[in-house]
């Protein structure tokens, strides 16, 4: 079973040299810590920076330099600042090769719900709806089940949608799953996790091949 860092580490394997990548808040942010050797990528933050670097050293923080999570950050060599319209032109125009974000629910046809729980305070979708509607390559990073032990991989999302038919891959604490043809397809087991455990934790239609290799981290 993977912890949050493990999920991030597995997703980092999807990074290819030359990618521009947008990382959501939470587990996705951790992906930046596991960039494979020899792979150059640049991180975009939708509030207006390309070439986002690590958090600043204590005392170096600049109120005018933050990421989409409102955290103080630094800029890498070659970074660029731009306005919000240009930022979402990059996103909507599919210039960002990979988007990684968290989710509350994902459905077997790739729908995603991650912005609103009816009856609870609604904080808004921020840039999530633009990201999921536009990106060609979206990976969801999340726990396989919620705090009540219920599957987050469903036949249909029960929560209000963020986007329709957009998620291509999900990496959870239990498995790597691809979404095609209206079904979840099991690609890999997390270390020490059995296929039965994954089947039990997946509510939507799950296609299980004969051989399910264990993830290599």
């Amino acid at each position: 079973m993977l912890d949050k860092n493990g999920i991030a580490q597995r997703i980092a394997q999807e990074l290819e040299d030359g990618y521009y990548v947008n990382l959501g808040i939470g587990i996705p942010t951790l992906v930046a810590n596991y960039i494979p050797q020899g792979v150059d990528v640049e991180f975009q933050s939708e509030n207006g920076i390309l070439g986002m670097g690590p958090f600043p050293l204590e005392g170096d923080e600049d109120a005018d330099l933050i990421n989409a999570g409102k955290q103080t950050i630094t800029a890498m060599l070659g970074a660029v600042y731009f306005d919000s319209a240009t930022s979402f032109a990059m996103i909507r125009g599919q210039h960002v090769q990979l988007t990684v974000l968290g989710a509350m629910e994902v459905s077997q046809n790739g729908d995603i719900a991650n912005w609103k729980i009816p009856g609870r305070m609604v904080k808004g979708m921020g840039g999530a709806m633009d990201l999921v509607a536009s990106a060609e390559n979206i990976i969801v990073a999340m726990m396989h089940t919620n705090k009540r032990g219920e599957s987050k991989l469903l036949a249909d999302c029960s929560l209000p949608l963020t986007g329709v038919g957009c998620v291509k891959k999900v990496v959870t604490n239990l498995a790597t799953i691809e979404i095609t043809d209206g079904a979840f397809h099991l690609l890999e087991r997390a270390p020490g996790v059995t296929v039965d455990e994954i089947v039990a934790a997946t509510a939507g239609k799950l296609v299980v091949p004969d051989e399910v290799p264990e993830m290599k981290l």
């Binding site: 920076i49 958090f55 005392g59 600042y81 609604v122 536009s134």
Partner: protein
Amino acid sequence: MALNKVVANVEEACAGIQSGMTLMLGGFGLCGIPENSIAQLVKMGVNNLTCISNNAGVDDFGLGLLLQGRQIKKMISSYVGENDEFERQMLSGELEVDLIPQGSLAERCRAGGAGIPAFFTPAGYGTEVGEGKEVREFNGKPHILETALTADYAIVKAWKGDTAGNLIFKATARNFNPMMAMAGKITIAEVEELVPVGELDPNQIHTPGIFVQRIFQGERYEKRIEQRTVRPRA
């Protein structure tokens, strides 16, 4: 000769803003917000405002200050609720909230300033955001029609500005400010440093002065950090 957009102070800059008006306010979180003008709006006591701003500040800073005084009737934003008073007013029904995807918000402001009354975007299709909106397929992908946003006054904050209203923003404090500057019937720019015309490189202006009607240098900037995250020094 270059036009002169300078007003004496924040009072003169905000003159004419009235209760019931629609305002755009630049900034993302607390980054790049027009601090001086917000303080002046509190002082003026205008209310029933519709505020278009990506966020709604925190309890004691940014637009949170206007919420404290119940000056806002409606917020048009992409992400809100970083403050308790906002949540209280929203849940009690005192405050209307219209949530818009961040990219659509930015593009709708740009469209308002650019004379584009409507455009198609894939963002929000199949979600609550798309309800009641026209859907059309382009290249096999469904899109929804979104309309332009404009405001009676747009209030933006820049790093440097010249007397002709030309603006330069700093780092990620740029965010929504340039588009909102375009979309205000009257646009007020407060700047950290107001310089004589000719001091800014004409090749390096982010917002041309044509979009700015009034400019002034803010008296004081707190520039509060919302999420201070650092690495320890070795």
